[in-house]
């Protein structure tokens, strides 16, 4: 067991830290469009220096780094508080899916513009009637010569209004059992048949959209994997969503917790004592320190298991579920410390507190993740 970085990993981290210190553009401007342009500029800067697709193969514009180096990268950018990148869904999920299931032509066609940010991606999985039971989705794709005609509705589509490509799962065989009749497409968003409507969320912002698709066209060559095998390809995307984000997420929790402890030193609780001297608050903060350490350690343990055996260990399936609980409880403790000020909307914890309610829903609800752990890790019988 060695929880220190190797000399090569340390050199990688130092080089990255130095580069980030010199190039970090700082806080995003306010306003959706301005923030998007800022993120796009940041991603281009990263890509020009070879930091966009850290663990992607070199032949497609990546850096060819190891998984540990990718994890270090994900930790360091959060620690340096850089902006997010513009093409986050393609970098975290779409690209890895094309690398895993795409043809050589598809990799060459789609991967470089992901890294450069020239083509932004969004994800069309969930539907109004298909959330946790994703395989029951109803969006239909009908073959018409060498193209497909798609009609249906998607929801929770982040970045749809900026996107060139949509990772779209649609039903191509309504006669087949529900998991078998699906196909994974890349749909061109730049057509009139696709209408985007923003969804306002409980924070007041509109991160997400609804997609209304009325006879949109997708050429045959934009199928990823094979016709009828969309479910397996979609699972690859979801696994990446849950796994690769873990490192950045656990560091964000640690940073937020550090800020919370700092502010607790300066806040008087309802009994007049400084919050950090309140024994109950101390217990809650300590529990968060411990849980956030578990997030970090599990992420590293999972990574070591993947490097050793090629598959994630049981702890790998716990990360997203556990993170959502820790992040929610962090914001709840922040409200506890705020006391009567918890009634007032501020420009920091209010957003985090409300936004965290989605953590146990987005990217797989906690209930679905528990089903996965029970059935696939513990081998319990399926619930149906």
């Amino acid at each position: 067991m060695d929880l220190t970085l190797s000399p090569a990993e340390e050199a990688f981290r130092d080089e990255l830290r130095e580069w980030l210190a010199a190039n970090n553009p700082g806080r995003e401007p306010a306003g959706d469009e301005a923030a998007f342009q800022f993120r796009l500029a940041w991603q281009r800067k990263l890509n020009d220096a070879g930091w966009a697709g850290v663990s992607w193969p070199k032949e497609y514009g990546g850096r060819g780094a190891t998984l540990v180096e990718q994890a270090i990268f994900n930790e360091e950018v959060v620690r340096a508080r850089t902006p997010s990148v513009a093409n986050v869904l393609a970098l975290a999920m779409g690209g890895p899916t094309v690398i895993a299931h795409g043809t050589e032509e598809q990799r060459k066609r789609f991967l470089p513009p992901i890294l450069s940010g020239d083509e932004i991606w969004c994800q069309g999985f969930s539907e109004p009637g298909a959330g946790s039971d994703l395989a029951s989705l109803k969006t239909r794709a009908v073959r018409n010569g060498d193209e497909w005609v798609v009609t249906g509705q998607k929801v929770w589509t982040t970045f749809a209004h900026h996107a060139k490509w949509c990772m779209l799962v649609a039903r191509t065989d309504p006669e087949a059992p529900k998991h078998k009749g699906l196909t994974y497409f890349l749909m061109d968003m730049e057509q009139d048949a696709v209408q985007v409507r923003p969804l306002r969320q409980i924070t007041g912002e509109s991160e997400f959209n609804e997609l209304f698709i009325e006879e949109a066209r997708i050429p045959d060559e934009n199928i990823i994997g094979a016709e009828g095998e969309g479910w397996g390809v979609a699972i690859t995307t979801l696994m990446h969503e849950r796994a690769t984000l873990a490192f950045g997420l656990q560091v964000s929790v640690q940073i937020a917790l550090g800020e919370l402890i700092e502010s607790a030193h300066e806040t008087r609780g309802e009994n007049g004592r400084v919050a950090t001297e309140d024994p109950v608050v101390r217990q809650h903060l300590a529990q968060l320190l411990i849980e956030s350490e578990v997030l970090r350690l599990n992420a590293y343990r999972g990574l070591s298991a993947i490097m050793r055996s090629g598959v994630p260990g049981p702890e790998g399936s716990l990360g997203k579920w556990h993170w959502s609980e820790v992040n929610q409880s962090l914001t709840e403790v922040a409200m506890e410390i705020a006391g009567p000020r918890a009634m007032l909307a501020d420009d920091n914890w209010t957003y985090r507190f409300l936004r965290s309610r989605a953590n146990s829903i987005e990217g797989g609800t906690t209930e679905i993740l528990k089903n996965i752990v029970a059935e696939r890790v513990l081998g319990l019988p399926r619930m149906r």
Binding site: L285, I290, V294, L380, M383
Partner: protein, 360 residues
């Protein structure tokens, strides 16, 4: 970066699992739980032959000269098997002597401990003062003797010496056979670890070195071992619950197909794996990153203390009525996990320490 065991550590783990499952089936554990002494000389001899009596004792004194992480590996397997044994209590004594014993004390005891001829134990809690490792109010009298009553001292009747905690973090060594020392068996909730009241009446005391940092490190290692034991005990309780949930049928379906049961089991895994990550990290840090060791140890103890009991209690719920019977073995794991949670500082005390060490 590699968060996994080395080949040697994996070999220790494999040997421990095979040896303990062969020698300590639950029928044997039950028999020893009902026995006053709780182990046999032959059983002790076998552990000594594996080198476990001297894991952290230097090799020039007959030990293996290994570190906290190897102790963690063994402690997890001891918890999984729930093997009744003086291994934990004498390991506590060895840790105290190795870190804070005088040269003479180390020369006198460590070699016979490694060879299995001598065993020690550690007496921490006064009858009435606080429950933390450093709350004792016992003071050395001017004639160099101690008068005190210590409670819940593990395996005292089968130990040759006892290290007694006093005020200000001072510790004293007594031969158990010395005049002025009386041992009284105290029934513990966990029958797989034998507890004694140790009454000292003007008993001649041999001070250990007054070395607060070293003693802090020894205690940090001890609480990490208790955390690791709880990982093993919780893992076993979870496996029992999962096996039962696959097997037991109600309303014509295995109960494990109901989410009320299967989600309970998933929660067990979350807590077992969290406790495991923390206790491995603490073991590693105690050996390799001394400045992190005590914080990691308190995190592991707090989390594994809670998780050990919660997982075992949840496993009992999955078993339903059968889990509440004495005939079923599950309660032994529940009782060990509970007792460990309250030994050497409970979860609340360790969380407060985590807060202190993090500057809260």
């Amino acid at each position: 970066m590699n968060f996994g065991f080395s080949d040697d550590q994996q070999a220790i783990k494999r040997t421990a699992r095979e040896f303990l499952s062969a020698r300590y089936p639950l029928a044997t554990v039950r028999k020893l739980a009902e026995d006053d002494r709780g182990f046999t000389d032959d059983q002790w001899r076998e552990l000594v032959e594996l080198g476990w009596a001297g894991v952290i004792i230097p090799d020039d004194q007959g030990g293996l000269g290994l570190g906290a992480i190897e102790l963690v590996v063994i402690a997890e397997e001891m918890g999984y098997a729930l093997a009744p044994s003086p291994w934990f209590s004498t390991t506590c004594a060895a840790l105290m002597l190795a870190t804070a014993g005088t040269e003479e004390q180390r020369a006198r005891w460590l070699e016979p401990m490694a060879s299995g001829e001598a065993r020690g134990t550690l007496a921490v809690w006064d009858e009435r003062s606080g429950w933390a490792p450093d709350h004792s109010e016992v003071e050395l009298a001017s004639d160099g003797t101690l008068t005190a009553t210590k409670i819940a001292v593990p395996d005292a009747a089968s130990a040759d010496f006892v290290i007694v905690a006093g005020a200000d973090g001072r510790h004293f060594l007594h031969n158990v056979s010395d005049p002025g020392i009386t041992l009284v068996a105290e029934p513990g909730i966990d029958p797989t670890r034998k507890l004694f009241r140790v009454e000292l009446d003007k008993a001649a005391a041999e001070p250990l070195e007054h070395a607060p940092d070293e003693i802090t490190r020894a205690y940090a290692t001890i609480v990490t071992l208790l955390a690791a034991e709880n990982v093993g005990a919780a893992q076993r309780a979870m496996e029992m619950a999962v096996a039962y949930a696959k097997d037991r049928t109600q309303f014509d379906r295995p109960i494990g197909s109901y989410q009320a049961v299967s989600h309970r089991c998933a929660q067990m895994l979350l807590e077992v794996e969290g406790a495991r990550s923390l206790s491995y990290w603490a073991g590693w840090a105690l050996d390799n990153e001394p400045e992190t060791g005590p914080r990691a140890a308190s995190m592991a103890k707090a989390y594994a203390g809670d998780a050990g009991f919660r997982v075992a209690a949840s496993a009992l719920q999955v078993h339903g009525g059968i889990g509440f019977t004495y005939e079923h073995d599950l309660h032994f794991f529940l009782k060990r996990a509970h007792a460990n949670a309250h030994a050497f500082g409970d979860s609340r005390w360790h969380r407060d320490r985590v807060a202190d060490l993090a500057g809260v």
